[in-house]
Symmetry: D2
Subunit: 340 residues, 4 copies
Amino acid sequence: MRIGIVTSGGDCPGLNAVIRGAVLHGQESYGHAFMGFRGGWRGATLGDAIPLTRQTVRGISKLGGTIIGTSRTNPWEFGGEGAVKDSMERLGVDAIMAVGGDGTLAVAKRLHEAGIPMVGVPKTIDNDLNATDMTFGFDTAVSIATDAMDRLRTTGDSHGRCMVAEVMGRNAGWIALHSGMAAGAHAILIPERRTTADELVGWVESAKLRGRAPLVVVAEGFVLEGEVAAHSGRGLDAFGRPRLGGIGERVAELIESRTGIETRSTLLGHIQRGGVPTAYDRVLATRFGMSAVDLAEQGSWGSMVALRGTSVIEVDLTDALDEPKTVTESRYLEAQRLFG
Amino acid sequence: MRIGIVTSGGDCPGLNAVIRGAVLHGQESYGHAFMGFRGGWRGATLGDAIPLTRQTVRGISKLGGTIIGTSRTNPWEFGGEGAVKDSMERLGVDAIMAVGGDGTLAVAKRLHEAGIPMVGVPKTIDNDLNATDMTFGFDTAVSIATDAMDRLRTTGDSHGRCMVAEVMGRNAGWIALHSGMAAGAHAILIPERRTTADELVGWVESAKLRGRAPLVVVAEGFVLEGEVAAHSGRGLDAFGRPRLGGIGERVAELIESRTGIETRSTLLGHIQRGGVPTAYDRVLATRFGMSAVDLAEQGSWGSMVALRGTSVIEVDLTDALDEPKTVTESRYLEAQRLFG
Amino acid sequence: MRIGIVTSGGDCPGLNAVIRGAVLHGQESYGHAFMGFRGGWRGATLGDAIPLTRQTVRGISKLGGTIIGTSRTNPWEFGGEGAVKDSMERLGVDAIMAVGGDGTLAVAKRLHEAGIPMVGVPKTIDNDLNATDMTFGFDTAVSIATDAMDRLRTTGDSHGRCMVAEVMGRNAGWIALHSGMAAGAHAILIPERRTTADELVGWVESAKLRGRAPLVVVAEGFVLEGEVAAHSGRGLDAFGRPRLGGIGERVAELIESRTGIETRSTLLGHIQRGGVPTAYDRVLATRFGMSAVDLAEQGSWGSMVALRGTSVIEVDLTDALDEPKTVTESRYLEAQRLFG
Amino acid sequence: MRIGIVTSGGDCPGLNAVIRGAVLHGQESYGHAFMGFRGGWRGATLGDAIPLTRQTVRGISKLGGTIIGTSRTNPWEFGGEGAVKDSMERLGVDAIMAVGGDGTLAVAKRLHEAGIPMVGVPKTIDNDLNATDMTFGFDTAVSIATDAMDRLRTTGDSHGRCMVAEVMGRNAGWIALHSGMAAGAHAILIPERRTTADELVGWVESAKLRGRAPLVVVAEGFVLEGEVAAHSGRGLDAFGRPRLGGIGERVAELIESRTGIETRSTLLGHIQRGGVPTAYDRVLATRFGMSAVDLAEQGSWGSMVALRGTSVIEVDLTDALDEPKTVTESRYLEAQRLFG
């Protein structure tokens, strides 16, 4: 069988380990051949692809990003299933392995229903898929954010400042929750929870009273009391205009104006998603890539891989389209007990 | 309630996060006080303890080791339950939280049966406890080993050498399995699996043939074909004498003599267990410490915490005494597909 | 002798190693005692100080920040030399070791002239002092910036984007120059050099043409063609108003609008100055602290330590007040040969 | 001009940055072409070489090792200057850039005298060349050793053990000196200094008395009192036989037997020389590669590059053959003040 791989959506540490795991296992165990569609669904509709051989994937599991590129292209703007089928026929590709988030997997589901043999590998750096215990990339993002906060803290301590770190997470606060717990943050602000300004000020002042330089973690999708959530995660001001500056900056302003404590914010941004994946993510991603090939070998079209406990299992592609896995109240309250 | 904490056995990244999680949560949520017995069970029998307060545990979750010290002391060589009860009475300690591996937890079980209120937190850097999906410390050890192999590989590539890395794992090969998968090793040798010299040589030569510098990971407890396993994991030679040098060196000699490929071995040793814990281990250990306090608050004596999927649950202390969780055949075969 | 240590200005990796080196060497070799003034010159004027003993400085050379705190306080707003002399008398302090940048060292010079025995240790994370070949903290900042760019690059490659990284450097572009060279940037923009928009666009397009995702490093003090430099390093727009957003964002907008290449900017911010110092900075800072004690022991008041080649030497405090050491044309042209 | 590059001797972080710096600068500034001889002088005598283009050297400065391979081949065992000249003629190579240690540079000198246009780049991970203030690779080795000791220390502290770390350095103790200073070691043992067992025991016991877990760093070439130095750095026992085990193990045995303190040794080995170079080493190596091309362009045959202060200068190849730069008494005594 010749399998075409698509990586789509934002890049995520571990994508290359998925590709390597799939190619090595598929070639050695089953004799499959692999093509990599370049630049996400764009490559799949245009037939822009490169062969993926043992040689191509050599040593790539420790590289960030994806060697076949990615994009947010919607295939229905480029001919949809017809174009994809044409590409596959032209390139002799029999099936597609789609690696991506809920958007990508929805596409994969629809293409599957249109008759294209399709298996999926879930990918979300935010770890917000109900279908799987963990997604690769999340552990790397949490590590980078934690390391950054370990650094910010020493500056806060030296100057007696409050430090605010803004991390990824538009709809789910998992990165903020885990990195904040790991770094010993005094407050964690996430989209799922409407923390009031008074609560926040209380935690910050309590930490300050005990002689600490307060550390606050904010997920980009957090909405401040009195602001209206906007798609961009930036909120609207009282006149309904998008706020300038990120949520981290606005939280810092609020803290400084309410407490008088000098406060600085740092937006971690793109450094959270690139570079060398952690060992955890390399192992998980490699196993996902290998198991997705097993699904293809078994003809389990329309399914995808997932982690349950320590096992990689098969679930339906539709499982990826469930409500996102947001931070539960019990997990938030658990973390909150360490605030202040 | 006043709770005494014991950390016992080999040190492990995350121990301090357990202590911090327990103290902060216990003090803030329930008003408990905490004492730390110094140097494992030694401190518990002698009554050698320090108060653990919010101030004491400040900022410690990112420190390796354990601030209260550890040892391999057997309490029955120092008075057993009687001595422990005396210490507790003298210090006003009502219950003990024991953090340790199967040996420590067996001690905890026995003390519990002797009437001492006891809760447990499992600790094994080898991740070989059936009662829990994961133990803290393991992720840090795998990270360090993977990072070391990423480094060894570039030396191997530059000189056309085979590189052998010996990692921890006397009875279970999880560290070798995960770090080997993460680093893309061409062979992984673990105690659970009697790999023959021919198999090993086959993998090494196959990698060499494809132009790679072969990378081999060996768990310290691996037993070479023709050698007899010894308690020390060092094996016996043909005369029944313990072999000099570690298993890594002997594997390197075998490879060099059988294939003619210049081979170097590196024993990672103690660097695998010390230093800054990964974010993953800090979060898991913090949650374990907090949940163990919940067990104490509920009076669930004789129980311990464990990870199941993404939830921290309660299991019986006896569950820690099951057969160790060794690498299953299916997990090994999964990894083996990437060898050679 | 009793020596008071002041750390003043922005925090910088290595400050604690200076303190430790001074205290251990001063106490063991000469029997000196040490006090740490808290929060920079504020502590020196108010007499707010803690004893610094062998115990206090234990293990601190690997900690970021400064254990005695820092501030940008100007002592002449708090009583000047009179207040400092009073503090010293009250605390029995005979001499001051001032650790700081050009501002701090100018203060030290003036206090020295007012009769206060004073030795200096130069500190600037920007490495822009002519008096010394290197300052501690710079190597750590360059390491962190380089690591961040290694990460950004994989995201750029995966999406075919241009990535812009804004690093520290208001007046001197050394951090940008070194991290950009280390990370293989396609353009480096520094305050010392008025790069035109056409030059920049040329480098970016040349990299893109060769199939690279362009990586651009901008020092915060860089001034774009057509903008007017402002003290804040933020520039003024055509109406003379300070520009919103950092220079990194504006450079990204220019690149995207002129080339059509999707471009993202990241402001590294405070993570560059905190956290564990590199081994290089720990060694240099330790040697500086030790040598500053030697200066005090010799009564070389009004002097400070500096690195010349591999030797720590004595220079006059006034040497720190020379023109800043900015990036020379030859060093910039050397780097520029690798652009595009 | 077509320049052939040779990397020879042990691998060293930064070799790839030398190659990239030379190729990019040589091609863009002067229109030179480059060949890489494979496997050190072996490739130069056999004419085994690959073209080095802008594409070949893309992104390699952050990779450990050398993409053209290395070896310890002596060219006079493979035809000497005659064979090298034949290779050069066959491949159209006009000059050679030799990157290596004193052995390699002696070869380069001799080939230069035999009429082969030759420039040199000094390389020694031990930093023991008088001709240059610093060599690339050293900073990376010191970083890795320091990081390892930071880890070992937490294990020592938790168990109350003395930890011994054996680092590289057969003839010069720079790596031990710098990593030991950075990590706050209580004793540093180097080949240049015959520390007595009594001195060592004194430092260890003094640290223990103050409640510290002693940390001892030993360079591999250190010779214990009463042992005879051997070429292998392993020493001879009382019967003149090479001692089994490394010097680290023997030092650990001595400490344990003399002080009764439980002691563990770790041999850092090959992990010190591989993997991602530090930013410092990447910058220095890039500058060395670029400047060596300038030497070739100017026809400065028989010369090599060196660092003096912050400048890259030209020195004679013979300067590399001076007495090695060993640790001076003053630098050792400076470090020694922090022992115990």
